[in-house]
Every structure is written in C-alpha cells, then in structure tokens.
C-alpha cells in the first residue's frame, strides 16, 4: 500500500516533469510551427539562471520561479527578433538556425561556467509515506506543472492576449488587417514559450544538476511529447505526458532506467504509427 502510494507519486512526478519540459516547446513548435532545436539549451539556461541568481544571494524560490523565466523569456524575445522572425514558414532553415543557436549556447555557457555539473540542493526536505521517505520537492514539481498548464490554458482561453495570439498564429495577415501587430505577437508568444522553458529548467535543476550539454537529455523527450500530443497545446501536452510519463516510470521501476527510456521511445513510435496527428488529432479535437 505504501509502495503503491510512493509509486503513484513517482508516476505523477514523471508526468509532471515531462509536461514541464514540453510546455514551452508546445507553444513554440505546436502553436508557432517553429522547430526550435535550441529548446534543450533554453532549459539549460533556465537552470543556470536560477543557480547563478541563487549564488548572488537571491532566495531560491525567487531565483527559480521569477528570475529564470524572466531571463530565458528575454533571451527568447531577442532570439525571435534577431533570428527566428526572418525564417517563419521556412522549416528547414529554422532547424538549421536553431541548431546553430543550440551549439552557440552550449559553447557560450561552457566558456562562462565551464563544462562541469553544478547544482542546487533541493529545498523542502522530505516526508514519509508509511515506511518510505520521499523528497517533498517532488510534490513541488508536480504542483508547478499543474499551475503552469492551468495558467497557459486560462491565458489562451480567457484573456484577450491569448485570443489575439491564437488568431495571429492561424492567420497573420487577417490579424494584421484587424489592427494587430503580428511581429509583436510573434515575439511575445515566442518569449512566453521560452520563459516557460526557463521555468522548467530552473525547477528541475535541483533534481538533475545543470551542465552545458544537459539540453540533449531533454530535447528529444520534449519533441516526442509535443508531437505525440498533437495540435492542442495544453490538452496535447498533458495527454502525451500522462501516457509517456507513466510508461517510462513504471518500466523504470520494474526494470532499469535504460529500459524505461526504451519503453518511452517504443510507446512513442507506436503512438505516432496509430495516431499520426498525435493524441489530439483523434481525441479532444476542439480543445486547446
């Protein structure tokens, strides 16, 4: 019983971390159709932003929840204005440009911080479930994921900015005709996607540590989740995360972390074969 509760929390945690690392990409790739191969590096930058801010004496919560999203969001806006905006609709060129950006960011962070693992100690301590102990930080990550997903859903559905963003992505020329500045909308949307990615990187930093090439560990999983989820940003990310996260964690528990990853990838292949448009291509079709 205790073990079941513990496993349940760990499955939730796996789902939450998958959703967190994918949400920003769901906006940038799912919504804006920009294949951002530097997504993993945005996560990495979020981790560094939090750790550096914490080193400068900022409270760890402010460093993770405020500083990291702002820093990476700002980097996102700069990247969009200087690189991405020239390449909308040119998928191959965007891939090449963002791949270059990814290598550049890895090189830059290596030069500044060194190619060494740095980390934070997870705050919050631990708690007991029967005879098992678990890091309380696990629950915090799950909470952040829920809040982030709910926040994005609410912003897209209930706010004017969300409506404008969705409209501009669907038909930029029409949005412009109605008095919206598409350039600004694109920049802000990309920035929001980057900020969410930075948040995820910061929140996961105490768990996995940060080093310049850590993005490689995340980027494939993020793309798999977003593609597996399909067109709808929040519903798609959530459903794909639930599916892949649960499979990954249960397989890991039953065997080893290696087979956990294999199970995740195998599930992704089967899913894309059965549902080429992702989960939300078939189910929850009109959701966001």
């Amino acid at each position: 019983m205790d073990l079941a509760a513990l496993l349940g929390i760990q499955v939730l945690y796996a789902i939450a971390s998958l959703a967190l690392i994918s949400l920003g990409l769901a906006i940038i790739f799912g919504m804006m159709k920009v294949i951002n191969l530097a997504h993993g590096e945005f996560l990495m930058l979020g981790g560094y932003a939090a750790i550096e801010a914490n080193k400068l004496g900022l409270n760890i919560w402010i460093a993770m929840l405020v500083v990291a999203p702002i820093v990476v969001g700002a980097i996102g806006v700069i990247v969009e204005r200087t690189i991405i905006r020239w390449l909308y609709g040119r998928i191959i060129d965007t891939m090449l440009a963002t791949w270059g950006l990814s290598l550049f960011l890895i090189g830059l962070t290596t030069a500044i911080f060194g190619n060494t693992t740095v980390g934070l100690s997870a705050p919050l301590g631990s708690f007991e479930i029967g005879r098992y102990r678990l890091s309380a930080y696990t629950l915090f990550v799950i909470a952040v994921a829920v809040v982030a997903l709910a926040g994005v859903l609410a912003a897209l559905r209930f706010t004017r900015a969300g409506l404008i963003a969705r409209g501009t992505m669907q038909n930029g020329a029409m949005a412009a005709a109605l008095g919206v500045n598409p350039g600004r909308v694109y920049a802000v949307t990309f920035g929001v996607g980057a900020a969410l990615t930075g948040l995820a990187g910061a929140v996961l930093a105490p768990v996995s540590g940060v080093f310049p090439t850590i993005g490689a560990a995340y980027v494939a999983k993020s793309f798999i989740t977003v593609i597996g989820g399909g067109a709808a940003i929040v519903t798609g990310t959530t459903s794909a995360s639930i599916l892949f996260g649960a499979i990954n964690q249960l397989a890991t528990y039953a065997t080893t972390p290696v087979f956990g990853e294999v199970a995740l990838l195998a599930a992704a292949i089967v899913l894309i074969r059965v549902l080429p448009q992702g989960v939300t291509g078939r189910f929850f079709r009109r959701s966001l």
């Binding site: 996995s208 560990a217 890991t252 528990y253």
Partner: protein, 408 residues
C-alpha cells in the same frame, strides 16, 4: 651554366640528406615527449581537471630540476572530451605522430580498454594512473592506481562492522562498475554479509527516484556506490532530498575522486565512508612539500587534490625514476627498469612497482566525509595488488595481454 637533371638530382639528394642528418643530430637535445590523454571537458571532467594539474606540476618539477637525461620534458596534452572516439584518435596521434616516450591517462576503464590495444600495437609505453577494478595484465602497461583488493577488501568489513551486514550496490554501467560491484559482492559474502541487489546506471542517467524507492523497499544496512561522473552526482542529491542519508549510510569506491564532497553540501554527504591511496590529510614530509608546491602553482584556494590527481603525479614520478635508472627513454629499457621494482617516496607514502603485475604496492586509508573534507579513520600500510597478483604474472608470462575478470 649548364645544370642537367642528373646533377640536380645529386645535389638535391645531398641537400635533403644533409637536412635529415642535421635533424637527427639535433634530436638528442630535443625535449622528451610525454602524452597525457584525459577528459578535461564533458561529463568526466570532474576527474580529469585535477589530474592534468598534478601531471603539469610533476613535469614542471622535473624540468626545473634539469629534465631527464639532460633533456627537457614536453607534455603533450590531449583533451579527450569524455569521448571514446577521441581516445582512439589521440592515442594513435600520440604514438605515431608525436612518437611519445610514454603516454599517461585514460580515466574510465572503458577508455583504458580503448587505448590499451593502440599503445600495444604501436609499442608505446602506457601508464594508467586511475584507481580501477583490477585485473589488467599487459607488459606494455603500468597501473599506478589502487584496485579492489587494496580498497574494497578493507572498506567492506569496516562498513559492515559499523552498520550491518546487508548491502545494496549501485554502480555505473560499464566494465568498472560491473566488475567492482562483483568484488563488493565477493568481500561482502566472505565477511558473512548479503547483497540485496546490484543496480547499474548508464553515465547519463540523472533520475534515480525509482531506485531510491527500491532501496527503501529492500531495507539494506548500507548502500555501496560505484557511480561515476557528473550526472550521477544527482543520485547523492536525490538520496539526501528524500532524507535517506539520515537513515541508510553509504560507502563508496568512487565518491570524492571527482571532489563530490565539495560539490555537494555537507548535510548531503557527511558520514560517507571511502577508501583510497591518497588524501590531502596524509601526514608525511613528501606530502607537506607537495601540497606547498601544488598550492604555489595552482593557487592557495585550490579545492582539493584528489586520489586521481595524486595517481597522475605518482605515475609520472615512477616513470621518471625508471628513465633515470635505465639512462634511456627506450620502451623496453624503461619497462625493464620498472620491473626491478622501482620505488618512490611519494606524497601518499612509499609507492613501489610490483614487478609481476605492473601494479603498485602502496598505503591505503579509510576516511569519512566530514564538512567537505576527509577524516582519516584507519591506515593500512603497503598493500599489495593481490587481486591481480592471483591471476597475472608478467615475469613468467611476459606475453600475457588481457584483463582478468572476477568470477563469483
């Protein structure tokens, strides 16, 4: 002036022969090339960086003392970037292009097994200066690091006496972790204990939550870690975050060699037990002099000289001693000089080459992690590499060339 083809060829040949000759003539005063192959970036840089610093100091000290055989030593430093492919490439470059007198390096046992055949094939003397799982038997190679019979054999009974008889082993998933965990199992069983499970992790795994749950379900008396590299530091963090470090203690054959005790906070790793050849707190005159020189060269705030850094330093010193004895850098002559059982007074104590195994006889110490430092608890003087000695005798079988693996 007539200048036909034959005359041209003759004079050209003479000129080139002369230039060749002059090149040959100058080479006696040329520096002796020594190659270092270490991971100075990537996931294994936590080990490689202190090693190259210690190696640099050893070379500089030798040069300041007038070099070897009247020649200066040139350290050719290859950063293998935690990539096996680069190990092969740089090993070939060191052997064929630089024609080095000796190559030193390799950190993981996987990388050693990648470059060992290369140096064998191209007849280049090779020093592996890292503590490892033991069993390599190769006349071309010298191993200056400690092996399980020198460390695990001491630490297992020590930890079992302190904590209890049931062990759970977590290890890196390559030859080092695979073989070392078998040694841990062997010594645990021999001391009347039991091993609940042995789990392996590839070097890039950072999520250990399900393992931590499994360990709690198994309720061992202590955990043995043979985890390796930067990513695996997450295990110690997640272990502490779950509060487990307060209920289940840990012993390790790898903790601290990458200065993990400094990267982590004291509350995350205090009380862990380790066993190595060298700790900064070892007391002897050579160590005092070494630490003074090291801090003068690399700054007073240099975090900690690791076991592996000392391995590099001592490896170079042993080779230099053999070159002096052989009065040559010729590979066979140096090997024969080393096989006389050469000995140095190193910062870790006396270090002697064991001729039949090409490993070292040296001091080891058990220590406890305490506030980012190691407190020495027990010393074992002049330990022999008995694990490798049981299977390997290069005096009797000089052509033996393999890594013996423990069978349980």
């Amino acid at each position: 002036m007539s200048f036909n083809r034959r005359q041209f060829l003759t004079s050209a040949a003479a000129v080139s022969a002369a230039s060749l000759l002059s090149f040959e003539g100058a080479s006696a005063a040329d520096p002796i090339a020594v190659a270092s192959l270490l991971d100075l970036s990537g996931g294994l840089d936590i080990y490689g960086k202190p090693m190259i610093d210690a190696m640099t100091l050893a070379v500089e000290e030798a040069n300041a003392a007038g070099g070897l055989l009247g020649r200066q030593i040139k350290l050719i430093n290859y950063d293998t970037q935690s990539s096996m492919q680069l190990y092969t490439q740089f090993a070939q470059q060191a052997a064929l292009k630089d024609k080095v007198a000796v190559a030193m390096g390799g950190i993981t046992s996987a990388s050693r097994e990648v470059i060992r055949p290369v140096f064998d094939r191209f007849k280049t003397l090779y020093f592996y200066n890292t503590q490892y799982e033991g069993g390599v038997c190769d006349r071309d190679q010298f191993e200056t690091g400690v092996t399980p019979a020198q460390t695990v054999e001491k630490l297992v009974p020590f930890a079992m006496k302190k904590w209890g008889k049931k062990v759970y082993v977590v290890a890196a998933d390559y030859n080092y972790g695979q073989i070392t965990s078998q040694w841990v199992k062997k010594y645990t069983l021999e001391n009347g204990g039991s091993v609940s499970a042995i789990e392996f992790f590839p070097l890039d795994v950072t999520n250990f939550s399900s393992t931590i749950a499994k360990i709690q379900a198994a309720k061992p008396d202590f955990v043995w870690s043979a985890l390796v590299g930067g990513a695996h530091i997450s295990f110690y963090r997640q272990w502490a975050a779950a509060g487990m470090n307060k209920s289940i203690p840990m012993a390790s054959t790898t903790f601290g060699v990458g200065n993990e005790q400094i990267v982590l906070s004291p509350s995350e790793c205090n009380g862990m037990l380790v066993c190595y050849n060298y700790f900064e707190s070892v007391k002897n005159a050579a160590n005092t002099a070494f630490l003074a020189a090291f801090h003068k060269r690399f700054g007073a705030d240099y975090p900690n000289v690791t076991e592996l850094a000392m391995g590099s330093y001592q490896g170079f010193k042993l080779w230099a001693e053999a070159v002096k004895k052989a009065q040559s850098v010729d590979r066979m002559k140096v090997i024969e000089a080393l096989e006389t059982g050469i000995s140095i007074d190193a910062p870790s104590g006396k270090v002697t080459i064991d001729p039949p195994t090409h490993h070292c006889i040296l001091d080891v110490h058990i220590a406890e992690v305490k506030d980012k430092k190691f407190n020495l608890l027990e010393d074992f003087a002049q330990q022999k590499p008995s694990d490798t000695a049981a299977v390997c005798n290069l005096i009797k079988n000089p052509t033996d060339n393999q890594q013996y693996v423990i069978k349980i």
